[in-house]
Structure formats: C-alpha cells, structure tokens
Homo-oligomer: 240 residues x 2
DNA sequence: GCCATGCTTCGGTTAAGATCGAACTATGAC
DNA sequence: GTCATAGTTCGATCTTAACCGAAGCATGGC
C-alpha cells in the first residue's frame, strides 16, 4: 500500500467487454464516432455514451468535436501500449487454446498499432533501423541518429514530422504477435505515413491490416533489409 | 469483432482493487503465501483464496506448493510486463495529480521489476550494454553478443544462468517511471543476482527498493558507464 | 493417534454497475 | 423557421461478483 498507482481503476475500465471492444477498434488508429463505437461494441447508443464518458475520464481516449459529430481516438502512445501489452498477454496465454498471436496471417504480417506499423514488417523496420545505427538508445531514450535523420529525409519524411510536438518522438512498443519491439512514437507514425504516401501499402478499411502491394513489399525489403539472423550469437539456440 | 483476444477478461482480473494489490505486491519478485497476500490486499483469507484462484485461472500468477504452504508468484515476464505497462499509464496519467512515477525517490532510482532491475539504474544498465554492443537486436529478438557473453562471464554470471531454459533470455521491459526500456528476461535476472552477490546492493524486505551501498554505486557506474547524452542527436530537444 | 495451521468451499448479504428505452439537448441541413 | 441526426441524461431493472464467517479439508508437528 506504500505505492500504488490507479492500476485497478484503469484495468477495470478496460475490463468491461464493451469498452474493451471499443478500445480494440480504436487500435486501428482512426478516430470513430460514438455511434460507430456503439455498433462496434454491440451495445445501445446510450450505453456506449456512458462508456465513452468513463474512458474519457480515465484518460484512455481523447475526443475531438467536429460539427455535430464527436470523434474518439486513443489518448496516446501510452494508452495504446497498455492495450497492446494486454493483447500480447491474452493472445499468447489466456486464449482458448494458446494461439501465439492473431489467427489472421495478414494481421501477423503487417498491421496498424494505433498509428504506426506493427507485426513482422514493423519489427523488421525497427531492427533494420537499429542495426544500421539510424536508431540509437541514448541517455534520454530512443532517438534518431544524425544518419537516421538523413535517411528519414531521403525517405520522404519532412523534418517537422519527426521533430515537432512533445519529446518522445521514438518509442518502442512491444509487439503483440512477435513479442518483440517495433517503432512507435512520432517517428513510427511518420514512417507509416511515408510508406502509404509512396503507394507501397494501404490500410484496409475497417480493419487493422496494412496491405502491401507486390512492388511495395519488394521496395520495403530493399529500404529496410532484414537483419541477418546470426549477426549476433543467438542464445535461444544454445539453451533449447 | 473479427479478432479479439481475451483482453477484457485479463483486464477485469486486474481491475479489482484487492487483486491489483496482490499483483503489485508480487512485483517485488518474491513469492508470497495466500495469508500474506490476503493481508497485503486487506481482505479476509477466504476472499483472498477466491481471488487467487481466479488469477491462477487467468494465467497471471503461478503457484508452488511447499509443505502446507502455497507460494504464489507472477506467472512470468509477460504478466509482469502487463502490470508494469499499467503502472506506467496509471502513474503518469491517471493518477490523482499527474505524478510521473513513484513518489519515493528510492523507487525511482532502483527497484525490482518482477525479477530484474528497473528504475534509473536499470535503464542505465540496459543502455550501457546496448551502447557497447554487448546487447544487440537480432532477427530473433534481443540477444547477448559474443562480447556481451564474455562480459557477463567476467561479471560473475555462469553460462547456464543465461543460456538455460526457454528462448527469450533477453527481454525489454518498458520502465514505469522512466518510460524507457530496461533489461528483463533471464539475462536481466542474472545481472541483478550478480549485483546482489557482489554485495553492491540488496533488496529491502517488503519493498521493491533495491538499496545500493556507496561502494556499490561507484562500482556500478564503472561497470555500466552511462551513455553520454548527446552521443546521438536528441530529437526531444529540437521540438520543444 | 492428537491438535494446530494453511487454505478452500459454502451460504447469504450487499453493493456496484451494465443495460435498455424514452425523454431531452445541440447541431446542421433545408 | 422546421425537421432530422448525433449525442447525453434519466430512471428502472437486473446480473454479477466482492465480501465475510463458519464449516470442511488437507498437511505437518508432536
């Protein structure tokens, strides 16, 4: 009892099936209206309204008014991280029959995690940047190096897209299906946006799947070459 | 509704104040008996017993029988990761008056996260290993490099302590107070154990604080030198 | 064998909150 | 202005589950 954040309150908020459904729907990254979320969660509009007020109060989601519509979205990377962590746990362990990730192969491959790229390709992007020294772990967290910024510019990312706003521009996000990190934060968002802008891939409407074209997949593999498996000694092979 | 792990169930499990209290207590890393946990959560033994059965069923904790005692502990890194993520969110955002981390400075400095070192010193250890190439992000996740293993051996860590058991020996764990990664997994546990064996620090009983001696703190700074702040360009300074 | 201790199960009480429809408010379209 | 649509608030119902004490099983000490 000496130190206890409101973890129970936040968890209880996510613990209702209707609210959990809404949050999962919001993991697609796009803002949704109250009516859409009500439908997504399978409850009446009045019920949904109450839930949304609670989520808002708990700081898990944010709202933006536009005319007579209200668009709800996840509050930020932190909130998305909690959901992703829970999905990682529930997907890997708590599921009905231990399924280590999403059943849909396309979701495993590439999906949206709040606003950045996750799944196998998300992890590959992250590791590729890290291995080439474009991304480094400094004292103040994960940052883009000098070369990393040059690379980003060459990739078609504007300076302000990665430097504006509040500090944590690079974040790691533990991947639900891969159990490894991928790049989140402002930089993660910028890379996904650039990939879409190049026409390599597009988000499928109403789903978290990021669909790559054949050309896009090829170009991605060149821009973010996979890190060779045994560049470093893999301890996993030694033990088991 | 196309894809939804049991996130609501897991969250609801953590969402009860009594169960949350138990889980937080278990973040200290040591296994506790049902009676101790009942006291920790402030409920009757019968109530606690019910809660523990639920947590067990949900896969969040594991149990080990020893005589007429039953020792409960967190189920693993995944479970601990979920709790830490929730504490990070609730501590930073949902708290009564936005306090970015634990109020106790000692907890911010160095604490136990399930079984490894967290807090400022945990992050420093992680980044120091990463900066020197002892820890690398390979295709199969975070691994100790050749040099990293040599370093670990020189630090007094036996080979089997980092190579035995199941694969994920190195894990990142997003730090509650620092919002940065620290080293978890089997390797994280081994480093904390070695630090304790060297007498640099000891865990305070009944708390998550890891208390370093003056000598220990000095030795730690030499073994894991902090990464210079501007080794890489800090984007955080540019924006704000 | 006996008793003490650690934990579980059972029954009954109580409180919290999820749910809905209906009435109400606010905004935009016409 | 009027009407339609998006969202909120209200009141009533109902399910869920947290809680406790007492009784019931185990296990270990003697």
């Amino acid at each position: 009892m000496t130190e206890s954040p409101n973890i129970a309150r936040t968890a209880a908020l996510i613990g209702d099936p209707a609210r959990a459904g809404m949050l999962i729907a919001l993991m697609r990254g796009q803002a949704l209206t109250a009516t859409e979320l009500a439908h997504e969660a399978g409850v009446a509009l009045s019920t949904a309204s109450g839930h949304l007020a609670q989520l808002l109060d708990g700081g898990l989601i944010a709202v933006r008014k536009s005319g007579r519509h209200k668009y709800f979205a996840l509050a930020g990377e932190d909130a998305a991280g909690v959901i992703e962590a829970l999905m990682g746990f529930a997907g890997g362990t708590g599921g009905p029959k231990r399924q280590p990730g999403p059943r849909d192969p396309a979701l495993r491959r590439a999906r949206v995690c709040y606003n950045h790229l996750a799944g196998e390709m998300g992890v590959q992007l992250y590791q590729s940047l890290l291995a080439r020294g474009f991304l480094t772990a400094g004292q103040s967290g994960l940052t883009l190096s000098r070369q990393g910024r040059d690379f980003a510019h060459g990739f078609g990312i504007a300076e302000q897209a990665i430097s504006g706003g509040r500090p944590p521009h690079c974040r790691e996000c533990l991947d639900w299906s891969m159990r490894q990190s991928h790049l989140g934060g402002r930089a993660g968002r910028a890379f996904l946006a650039a990939i879409e802008a190049k026409g390599w891939a597009h988000r499928k409407k109403g789903s978290r799947v990021v669909a790559f074209t054949a050309d896009g997949q090829r170009a991605f593999a060149i821009a973010f070459p996979p890190v060779p498996r045994d560049e470093s000694l893999d301890l996993g092979r030694v033990g088991a």
